[in-house]
Every structure is written in structure tokens, then in C-alpha cells.
């Protein structure tokens, strides 16, 4: 194998990618997903933690209170989120339908220490973003009332849970886990999946367009062709992953150990690229190769995720800076797998190349 031949093949593939401008689509795709994920985050945060949007936190919602007196009325009157109007139930619901109120609460006359539970009926607007926010705010009030009732009925309980006093955090932290524990490993790892699909395309194309004979008639051997293509695809991974990390950082998401993340991604993706290469060499036809490979990919990824200290988990831990010594063991393990797969690819390509020359 000559390094010069490898680089010739790799450069040929890069030229092909750039001349088709399909690489632009890949970049567009990344931007698109980044935009959408930020939409998901901000949109959902504002829904589930309304106080994160100052616009909503300053707003006082009108609610009607109907039925019998209870501590709920006091909680509502003292709350800064609501303006309460004691009303008759039918009037309240009619005003709710005209959007003059955000909710109507009806409380029965069940005594606090009754055998039966207290059943509050809550009327809210259907299909309305604001009523979702009102629900979240009302929940706090109901939880307070529930705690009160539970204390009154405490004598009837047998077991008490181990006490743990958890302070109320001041906003934030809602989507930290989503961003670092799901989004980052997913996004950083996507280039690996693209690269392995690409290597199948590059190899099967030579077979199906019958351009392989022309390539083989040059001084480049078949094995060199295969490794050149593998190299081209593998090189794309750290470049794309780096673009992701930069994009995320521009979005204000701090990522630690960026270089180590790139190392982990590149090494893990090498496994996928080699698997793709082996599949493509075996089938020499795109439909079959892609089908088998994507099914195998799902299996490998699921299996990976089921193991503790898997590479995806490491990406998360590297990004937040809690990865320890185990990352080097994982790196060693993946390198070993690469070595085995690499040998297999090399031998297989050699055999195919020889049979071609003799035949």
C-alpha cells in the first residue's frame, strides 16, 4: 500500500463530493437540526416553566372561585399569579368560554378530615397555550392544599418516608439533562452515521456503474482503493463533529474537553465505517448493503447503549467534565475492535483484488 495512492483516491472522492455540492446539503441539514433543537428547548421550557419567560411571570390570571370556602381561596388571594373572583359556577364557565377568565375552580363541602378525599373540579380552556401555563401555576396551589390535608389526616398513615428537605431552585436547569444527556451525544455522533452510509455509496457505486475496471487498470490496487475511500469518509467525521461543537457553543452551550470528544467520536465512528465497508464489499449492491447495514447499525447502537460506560455516555460525561480514567479503557477497547475489523477489511479486500486480477 502506498500513501500516495491512498491520498489520490481520497482526494478523488472529496472532489466528487464538492463538485456535486451535496456537501452543502449536509451542512444545511446540520444548521436545520440545530435550529429545530433550539426551538424545542426554548419552546418547551416556556411551556413547562412559565416563570422563565418574564412576559408571563408579570401577568396575573383571572380565575373564578365557586362552591364552598376552603384554604384554596386564601392561597389564591395571596398568590401573586392570580386575581380571584368568587362567582357562581354557571356564570364563571360562561365567562371562561368568552376568554374573560383563565380557569374556574369548584370546591365541594367535604370536611378536611373526612374518610373520603376532597374532589376539586377545575374548568380550563381546551387547546390553549395559556391554559397550560395556568395549569402549572395552579398545581403549586393544589400541592400546598394537599400537604395541608395530609397533615390533618396524618394519624391514619402507617409509614412516613425518610425526610429530605429540597429547596426550590431559582429557575433554570430544566433542559440541562436534555441538552447534555441526549442532544450532544446525538448530534456529535450523527457525522459518524453519515460517513458509514457514505462509504457504502462510494464502494457500491464503483461496482454498479462498472467503473471499477478502469480504476484497477491504473497502478492503484483494489486494496488501496478501498482504504482510500475509508480514509475519505473517516476524515469527514472529526470535521463535521467539530462544526457541531462550534454550532452548539455559538448557541451558548458550554462544552468541555472538545478535543477529547473529537477523539472519541473519530475512533468510535471508525468502527461503523469499517462495518459499512465490509457490508459493501460483500454485497456490491447499494439496496442490499444499505438495508443490512442500517439494521446492523440499530443493533450495534442499542447494544452499545445498554452497556455501562459506553462511548455515547462518555461523550456526555466529557462534555460536562465528569469523565474519569474509564475513558481510556473504552478508547483501548474500541481501538482493539478497530484493529480486528481493519485486518478483516484488509484481508477481504486483498482477496477480492487478487481474484479480480487473476480472473
Amino acid at each position: 500500500m502506498k500513501a500516495r495512492h491512498l491520498s489520490i483516491i481520497a482526494r478523488k472522492e472529496f472532489r466528487g463530493l464538492f463538485s456535486e455540492r451535496t456537501i452543502l446539503l449536509a451542512i444545511l441539514l446540520q444548521l436545520f437540526i440545530a435550529l429545530f433543537s433550539s426551538f424545542l428547548m426554548v419552546g418547551l421550557t416556556s411551556m413547562y416553566d412559565p416563570s422563565s419567560l418574564s412576559k408571563y411571570s408579570r401577568f396575573r390570571y383571572n380565575v373564578a372561585y365557586a362552591g364552598n370556602d376552603s384554604p384554596v381561596l386564601d392561597y389564591l388571594t395571596t398568590s401573586r399569579d392570580f386575581r380571584v373572583y368568587p362567582m357562581n359556577l354557571s356564570d364563571g364557565v360562561a365567562a371562561l368560554k368568552e376568554r374573560k377568565l383563565s380557569a374556574v375552580i369548584w370546591v365541594p363541602d367535604t370536611p378536611p378530615d373526612a374518610q373520603e378525599p376532597v374532589k376539586i373540579t377545575l374548568y380550563t380552556l381546551q387547546n390553549d397555550l395559556q391554559s397550560a401555563i395556568v395549569d402549572v401555576k395552579l398545581k403549586d396551589i393544589f400541592l400546598k392544599y394537599e400537604t395541608g390535608l395530609r397533615e390533618i389526616r396524618a394519624g391514619r398513615l402507617h409509614d412516613e418516608p425518610v425526610p429530605l428537605a429540597i429547596p426550590k431552585a431559582q429557575g433554570g436547569g430544566d433542559f440541562y439533562e436534555f441538552v447534555y444527556g441526549l442532544l450532544i451525544p446525538l448530534l456529535v455522533f450523527m457525522p459518524a452515521i453519515i460517513a458509514s452510509a457514505l462509504v457504502i455509496d462510494l464502494l457500491t457505486e464503483e461496482y454498479q456503474h462498472e467503473t471499477l475496471e478502469t480504476l484497477i487498470s491504473t497502478p492503484v490496487t483494489f486494496t488501496e482503493i478501498v482504504w482510500g475511500k475509508v480514509l475519505a469518509c473517516e476524515l469527514m467525521v472529526p470535521v463535521q463533529a467539530c462544526a457541531w461543537i462550534l454550532l452548539l457553543m455559538i448557541n451558548g452551550i458550554a462544552i468541555e474537553n472538545a478535543v477529547l470528544i473529537l477523539v472519541q467520536v473519530s475512533v468510535t465512528s471508525f468502527i461503523l465505517v469499517l462495518l459499512g465497508t465490509l457490508t459493501a464489499l460483500h454485497y456490491r449492491e447499494r439496496t442490499a448493503a444499505q438495508f443490512i447495514f442500517s439494521t446492523a447499525l440499530v443493533i450495534v447502537m442499542l447494544l452499545g447503549l445498554a452497556l455501562p460506560d459506553n462511548p455515547f455516555n462518555l461523550l456526555t460525561r466529557l462534555a460536562i467534565g465528569t469523565a474519569g480514567m474509564e475513558q481510556w479503557f473504552v478508547l483501548g477497547g474500541t481501538s482493539l475492535i478497530i484493529l480486528i475489523l481493519g485486518c478483516a477489511t484488509h484481508l477481504y479486500a486483498d482477496r477480492i483484488g487478487k481474484s479480480r486480477h487473476s480472473g
Binding site: T22, V118, L125, D128, D135, R150, R153, G172, D174, G321
Partner: protein
């Protein structure tokens, strides 16, 4: 009759061919992989997904609490002996001393706190669930009664808030007051039913439900819940189920895409084209097996999850949409790389279009732009109407039909086997649709039929810009909406210009622009009429359709926009297309701004 027979014959060939390709080599391995997949899935459900292990570090001085917290692999727990929280020399996110939790001000620490709070809540619930006297442990139950507001459609869309109250007085309803019966204070469920439900929700697999529980608690009791179960109604489980449906559809459409592509490699499809059969029959015949396959998969999945069969109805237009796009992508791309990238791009965009609106299934009417919302509703047991169906699927039906038409017109030798680049090929495809004999009628129709695509792209922009702060989102939306409309109007003109520049005498320029502008307006109003028919029943319908009376203003705008583009093309040549578009966009924006600013002031 003859056509049907042709279609059946070609469909049979297609099945035979794909089996001969896939059969011998692929099937055995596919079966092995499938068995492996089942085994691995089983293993994964057993051991859980270890994606977020060891994210947080906690120092605890009480061994009982340490055991409790360490039950969640997200926490690495360390035993400490300090009597007061000390943050120096460690990277703890939380410190627990004598049952009291302390946290840092960082995002990570707050996130750890929230996770701990959820875990502790679940632990407390598991203790209370075992209580003999359930109503002492859960003394409060909330019965949520959602009410439908007559005004909700446009009020929420235009960002209106609920009217502020007139001072200290209670609001008085203006309309008639319907008598609401006093709710009964007794529960509709027995104690055991409630206990069963409570145990079920708390014992779900923690490794999987962790991703869903942030957002919702699933509850078979419907609107009847304890206060801690009250969260915005997000049907997360159902949404995940949607991926179960969409993924196989995407997969199968890949085979169709590849089968089209294979016909084009080394001119293999020449035999097919030389047959005395209509091109429409060829395409339908090749597509039929895949369509039936996808339908069978969906039916199988529906039976498997035990869902009502009505969810197949919204899936059919989605299947057609996937197939139509697979067809056109298979016909357009030059190489496998291009095929892969375009199909990945398409599937991402399509999946986001389908997926993201359905998150808001119970919250906002905008969710109905995705047919999947109907599936979510069906799975929840909520009914939807024929109007809802029309509203959410019409864009899919229309775009698929238009794409099929364009593909059928271009399914011939000189298009299938040409080696030109993507943009040129797209232009040639359009050129084929635009008749030489009746160019103005073609322009009218082309622009009219581009409306569903424009709507789709604009909806996409709406969802995308939804999250930006207010003035920016509005400005960006205005710019993009204008640009998209101008591009859609300019494409037909550009195609004709590229084919035959001499066609555009000044007289023809005016005619072409008029045809385009009228086509756009007619298409837009027709689609609005069909899809937004449900508004007409509300008070806002009258306001919206008043604007139909003053049609000449938008007509003039569309005419002016397309005239600018055409004039730039005629005077400056093809290089001036993009600047012309930019100019038209500015004019369009100014017009829109004038009207919106007019409303604002």
C-alpha cells in the same frame, strides 16, 4: 381496464425483481439480524439505556439517604463527614447534610436538584401507595373539565392574551349563560382502581420513562388526577409511538427510491420505457408493491399496539407523500452519494414537519398542520372531525399529487439518463411541465399548484422562528415569507426564460406576470378556503373572508413582485435572477410592513 392490467403486470415484475436481488443473499442474514435485534432489544430493556450515567456528583453524610440517591445511576454518590456544606476542593453538584439538600448556582447543579426532586417525589409516592388508607395519603383529587372556547383559534394565533379584568369587579359574561350542574363531590372510581393506577404510573421502567416523565405523567384516569400528576397534557408516549410508524415507512420508501435509481444506472430502464404502456401505469405499477407493503406494515403495527384502525386514515396521505418524494429523488439524483444526502435531508425535514407540531397536540391548534396529531388524538381516545382531517392532510395530498404529475411527465429517456447537475435537472423537469403551446395557462397552473409547497415551507418557518424574541421572529418571518413567495412565482418564469429567452417580448412579460399573479392568488385563496374552513364558523371567519372583497390589492402586489423579477431577467440576463428576487422581496416586505404596522398603530 387495460391500464389496470398493465399496472398489475409491472407490479408483479417489480416484486419479482426485488426478490431476486434481495432474496438469496440478503434474506438469511436479514433473519439473523432480526433475531439479534429482538435479543438486543430485550437485553436493553433489562439493563436500561446507560446514556446519562454519572452525570451528577453528590456528597451525602447519611448512609440511608446515600443508598436512596444512588438508586439512580445518573448520580455518583460520595460519603462525606462534614457538618456544613463545603464547596471547596470538590466538584459536587449537590451536598446533602442531615436530610437537607444544598445546591450551587450552576445550571448543572440546578438540573441535579430537579432530578433529585423528581426521584424523591417518586420514592414518596411509592411509600404512600402502600398506605392502607389511600385517601389519607392522597386526600386531594382534581377533576379537570376542559372547555371549548368559541374564540380560541385566532386569539391564540395572534398572541392575544386573555382579556384583563375590569378592575376589582368580577367579569360578567356577555353571551347567554348555560346552566352548569353542580359537580358531584364523590369519586367516579373505586379506591382499588385508583391505587392500581397510582402504582402503575410510578413503577414504569425508570431508564426509559426518565425521558418522558419530565414532560408528562400518563394517566388512564383521563382528567382525574392528584395535584402532583397535573402537568401540561403532553402525549409523549404516543409521540414516541409515532416514530414506530414513521421509521418503517421511511425505510420502505428507500427501496422504492433505489428501484427507480437502479432503472437509471447503465440505462437498464430502457426495456421498461420501450413497452407499449403509459408512463403513468409504469410509475403506478412500480409503486404499488411498496404502497401495499407500507400499508401492511402500518396495519400490522396498529394491530400490535392495539390501536383503533382509524389511525390508518391520516397515515395514507403520509405514505403517498413519502412515495412521491422517493420517486422524484430517485429520478433527480446523479449518484448514490447525492441520493443518500438528499434522502437524509428530505427525511429529516419531513420528520420534523410531522413530529414537532404534534408535541402541541393538546395545547395549540397549530398542531393540526401535522397529520400525526390526529394519530396522537386517536391513541388518546379524543375524537377528531372530517374538517380536522381535511385541514391536516390536504397539504400532503396536494403536494404528493403535484410531485407525481411532474414525475410522470418526466419519466422518459432524455430525462432519466441525462448526466446534468441537480439544479439543471430540476429546471428541465419543470420545463417539461410548462407547455410550449399554452405558456400562460401553464404558468397560471404551475403557480397555483405551488401554493401547497409554499404553505408547507412557510409553516416550517413559522415553527422555526416561533422561539426567537418577538420583534426578530416577526421580521424574519416577514422576510422569509416574502422571499419564499417571490421564489415560487419566479421559478416558472425563470424556467421559460432559460428555455427560450426570446419568448419574453414586453407584451409577453406582462401576460406572463399577470398569469403568474392570478394563479398565485387563486391558489392561495382556494387553499385557505378549504383548509381554514373551520374558522369560518367562528366570529373571525367573517373578518378573514372580508378580505376576499378587496382582492385587487394583493393581486397588484403579486403582479408587481413577479414583474420586477421578470424585468430583471429580461434586461440583465440569468445572472440577475437572484438580485431581482431580492428586490421583489423588499417590495413585498414593505407592503406587508405597511399593513401590519397599520394594524399595530
Amino acid at each position: 381496464m387495460g391500464d389496470l392490467k398493465d399496472i398489475a403486470t409491472i407490479a408483479r415484475w417489480e416484486v419479482k425483481k426485488s426478490f431476486s436481488v434481495m432474496g438469496r443473499n440478503v434474506l438469511p442474514l436479514a433473519i439473523v439480524l432480526f433475531v439479534l435485534l429482538v435479543l438486543v432489544t430485550g437485553f436493553t430493556t433489562q439493563s436500561g439505556l446507560h446514556l446519562q450515567d454519572g452525570m451528577y456528583e453528590v456528597g451525602v453524610n447519611d448512609p440511608a439517604l446515600a443508598g436512596l440517591i444512588a438508586g439512580d445511576p445518573r448520580f455518583s454518590v460520595y460519603q462525606i463527614s462534614a457538618a456544613s456544606p463545603d464547596w471547596r476542593g470538590n466538584s459536587f453538584d449537590l451536598i446533602v447534610i442531615n436530610g437537607e439538600v444544598f445546591y450551587r448556582g450552576t445550571e448543572k447543579s440546578k438540573s441535579a436538584l430537579k432530578t433529585l426532586e423528581r426521584n424523591y417525589g417518586k420514592y414518596v409516592n411509592s411509600v404512600y401507595n402502600a398506605e392502607e388508607d389511600l385517601f389519607a395519603a392522597y386526600p386531594l383529587w382534581i377533576d379537570v373539565q376542559p372547555q371549548k372556547s368559541e374564540l380560541d383559534f385566532l386569539a391564540t394565533q395572534s398572541g392575544q392574551s386573555i382579556t384583563a379584568a375590569p378592575g376589582r369587579q368580577a367579569p360578567v359574561p356577555e353571551g347567554p349563560v348555560a346552566e352548569i350542574p353542580t359537580p358531584s363531590p364523590t369519586l367516579a372510581f373505586t379506591r382499588d382502581e385508583l391505587r392500581q393506577e397510582l402504582t402503575k404510573t410510578s413503577s414504569a421502567n425508570p431508564q426509559i420513562s426518565r425521558y418522558t416523565e419530565i414532560l408528562t405523567t400518563d394517566n388512564a384516569m383521563g382528567n382525574f388526577k392528584t395535584p402532583s400528576q397535573m402537568s401540561p397534557p403532553l402525549p409523549f408516549d404516543s409521540i414516541i409511538l409515532i416514530f414506530v410508524f414513521i421509521f418503517p415507512l421511511y425505510f420502505t420508501s428507500q427501496f422504492f427510491m433505489m428501484s427507480i435509481m437502479n432503472e437509471r444506472i447503465e440505462r437498464k430502464g430502457e426495456i421498461l420505457l420501450s413497452m407499449p404502456v403509459k408512463t403513468g401505469s409504469i410509475i403506478l405499477g412500480k409503486m404499488l408493491p411498496y404502497f401495499l407493503g407500507m400499508l401492511a406494515i402500518c396495519t400490522g403495527l396498529t394491530v400490535w399496539i392495539g390501536a383503533p384502525f382509524i389511525i390508518l386514515l391520516p397515515l395514507v396521505p403520509v405514505i403517498f407523500f413519502f412515495l412521491a418524494n422517493a420517486l422524484i429523488i430517485g429520478m433527480l439524483s446523479r449518484s448514490f452519494k447525492e441520493l443518500s444526502f438528499i434522502s437524509i435531508f428530505f427525511s429529516t425535514v419531513a420528520t420534523s414537519y410531522l413530529f414537532f407540531p404534534s408535541i402541541f397536540a393538546n395545547v395549540h391548534v397549530i398542531s393540526f398542520i401535522s397529520p400525526l396529531t390526529l394519530i396522537v388524538l386517536s391513541l388518546q381516545g379524543t375524537a377528531w372531525t372530517a374538517t380536522d382531517y381535511l385541514y391536516s392532510t390536504s397539504l400532503f395530498w396536494l403536494t404528493s399529487a403535484v410531485i407525481f404529475f411532474v414525475a410522470a411527465r418526466n419519466f422518459k429517456e432524455e430525462r432519466l439518463f441525462s448526466e446534468k447537475n441537480l439544479v439543471t435537472r430540476m429546471r428541465e423537469f419543470l420545463s417539461e411541465v410548462l407547455s410550449r403551446k399554452r405558456p400562460f395557462l401553464s404558468l397560471f397552473l404551475l403557480t397555483g399548484f405551488s401554493i401547497p409547497f409554499i404553505f408547507m415551507v412557510q409553516m416550517m418557518c413559522l415553527v422555526l422562528f416561533f422561539n426567537l424574541p418577538m420583534p426578530y421572529s416577526l421580521v424574519l418571518l416577514l422576510l422569509f415569507a416574502a422571499l419564499i413567495e417571490e421564489i415560487a412565482k419566479g421559478i416558472g418564469i425563470y424556467t421559460i426564460y432559460a428555455r427560450d429567452a426570446a419568448f419574453f417580448t414586453w407584451k409577453n412579460v406582462v401576460y406572463a406576470c399577470a398569469a403568474t399573479a392570478i394563479g398565485f392568488l387563486v391558489g392561495e385563496k382556494l387553499l385557505l378556503f378549504v383548509t381554514l374552513a373551520q374558522i369560518t364558523e367562528s366570529v373571525f371567519g367573517s373578518i378573514l373572508f372580508l378580505s376576499l372583497g378587496v382582492l385587487w390589492m394583493p393581486l397588484l402586489l403579486h403582479f408587481a413582485g413577479v414583474l420586477i423579477v421578470t424585468a430583471c431577467l429580461k434586461l440583465g440576463g440569468r445572472g440577475w435572477f437572484a438580485p431581482g428576487l431580492a428586490l421583489a422581496m423588499v417590495v413585498h416586505c414593505l407592503y406587508n410592513l405597511y399593513f401590519i404596522l397599520g394594524w399595530l398603530s
